[in-house]
Amino acid sequence: MGRIWKLLIVASTYLFLYVPIIVLLVFSFNTEGFPSPWKGFTWHWYGELLHSTHLWQAFLNSLIVAICATSLSLIIGVLLIFYAAQGGRTGKFLSLFYGNLVIPETVLAVALLSFFTLISIPLGLTTLIVAHTVLGLGFVIPMAYARFLEIDLRLTEASLVLGASPAQTFFKVTLPLLRPALIATALLVFIISFDDFILSYFVAGSTAQTLSLYILSMLRSGVSPVVNALSAVLLVLSSFLVLVFFSLKSRTRIF
């Protein structure tokens, strides 16, 4: 009896998770636009998706922001770990980075928007990259540092004894050992930045439209099955990324 209940709960939860997605995907092949019921099968909306320049511009913007923010937060995050590995007194600084995930993104977005406006930095892709990098650092540094502390100290000592300088040791021993955790974190940061809506909503200004903002504008105004087609494409993309994440077998947890 308990078994059946358990299965029922789990099945209905997964149904809850996937029914909307399946309906969405099915309707991406409907010949008629959104409000109308199922009429017939077509690839038409995928073709239109291909030719929607605005959408691809937004997609490109999101991609640029996500790539820049991911690499930036990864690079400066790793360099901070490098500083820590060279015996820098980072203890007091590292606790600074645990706030990023704790405060609501809306508050961070509001604070950044007010700040940028105050010192009159033009809003756009750059400010968006800055904001997403802050978000990314909140993931990169705690995760990378936790992994860094797990590394057997004797490995770095062995490297030093074998004649490698502290810097060589970092790049030849520490960094390769951090790599799986870093890749997993980078994927996470990338997808969070790529899908981010709240920061983009506040900090992008009106020049830089990201994919999220484009979808929002479509949701707020006319909806078209092109969005369904887009969903299908993005689902494939994120499935792929999740697969990569899984195959890393790193012990990095998403939380």
Partner: protein, 353 residues
């Protein structure tokens, strides 16, 4: 010594980071052979701008704002420097003019004045049109589901969204208090003037009562609610409904007989601009019939000139409003603040709390 070096390193990093952040601004200010246009997000056709750039060899930098207030703030801060052409709405023109931020237009350089729809000129915000020329306009009204009203009484009145006696359906209402309040006040008092305390209370009560049959407050989704048959009546602007009507034939647009609201977007030149030659070239370009025609087709805003329509067939519905009679036009009002901005916001939050 160590701290001195470290401070030096810190400062160099700060300078590097911030110079990267200010870079876009710099480029934008230093470019001499270009025009900086500051416009609403969805108002200029990128293809048209590209055509102009190709024809004239002048580079056009487009920057966007999302509200008149953003435009006002930015222009006040920079004293208009760095912008060559702006597109404020009616009341914003007045505010900018009062701040002394606008340049008088040189009419000798504008070749299209005789073509402009006379109804759009000489309004209160710029009586002699010394500083502004209308570029596009739209009317607010009701989007209607014709199917729904096939066998139900349809009256062209605001009562369709405000009067409990008429409303037995769901509506979509604007999500902008700066539109909703003047509209409610106009419905109650037949005028758009600053309100006293008891009038404010009346307006509030009206909106609170209306909430019962509001499906959603959405400024830009009225067409969606119409199209999905969620609401048979939505409050919306002509430009939005125009686009929807093309896709869904059962949608109609009506302007209540009590009168309604319009907005006119105008072209203005900030006082600080010194690229007169190029600006006028661009303005003249924007008023070319085929550009205006494309603009109308693309965005659904009504064009500023009448002759634009001679080149293509305009459907009857559009014609009625575009060629509105003097009398029709006198029923149109501009949105303007009728309570203090704090009252406006508090009332709106209270309404939805």
């Amino acid at each position: 010594m160590k701290w001195f070096t470290r401070s030096l390193i810190t400062i160099s990093w700060l300078i590097l980071i911030f110079s990267c952040l200010y870079l876009p601004k710099w480029e934008f200010l230093s470019n001499k052979d270009s025009l900086n246009v500051f416009a609403w997000g969805d108002i200029l056709d990128p293809a048209a701008i590209a055509e102009f750039e190709k024809e004239s060899g002048i580079k056009v930098n487009l920057n966007y704002y999302s509200s008149n207030e953003e435009l006002l703030v930015k222009l006040k801060v920079t004293k208009g420097e760095g912008y060559d052409l702006i597109i404020p709405s009616d009341y914003a023109v007045l505010l900018l003019k009062n701040e002394g931020l606008l340049k008088e237009l040189n009419y000798s350089k504008l070749g299209f004045l005789n073509r402009i729809n006379p109804r759009l000129l000489h309004h209160n915000y710029d009586l002699e049109n010394k500083y502004s020329i209308p570029y596009e306009w739209e009317i607010f009204g009701l989007g209607i589901d014709k199917d729904y009203f096939k066998d139900r009484p349809l009256i062209p009145s605001w009562k369709m969204i405000f009067d409990r006696a008429f409303v037995n359906y769901k509506i979509a209402m604007t999500n902008d208090p700066a539109e909703a309040l003047p509209l409610a006040a106009f419905y109650l008092f037949k005028q758009v003037n600053p309100l006293n305390a008891s009038q404010i209370q009346d307006v509030k009560n009206l909106l609170l009562t209306q909430k019962a049959w509001v499906e959603a407050y959405a400024s830009f989704r009225g067409d969606y609610f119409l199209a999905t048959k969620n609401c048979p009546v939505v409050f919306a602007s002509s430009s939005y409904i125009w686009r929807t009507m093309k896709l869904f034939p059962f949608v109609d647009f009506i302007v209540p007989e009590e009168g309604s609201f319009i907005t006119i977007e105008n072209l203005c030149i900030p006082k600080a601009s010194n690229k007169e030659e190029a600006v006028y070239k661009l303005i003249n370009f924007l008023y070319r019939p085929h550009i205006i025609q494309r603009h109308f087709e693309l965005f659904g805003f009504f064009p500023p000139t009448l002759d634009a329509f001679s080149t293509f067939s305009l459907d009857e519905k559009a014609k009625r409003w575009v060629y509105a009679s003097e009398e029709d036009f006198s029923k149109f009002h501009f949105f303007r603040p009728i309570v203090s901005s704090q009252q406006l916001r508090d009332l709106w939050v209270e309404l939805k709390e």
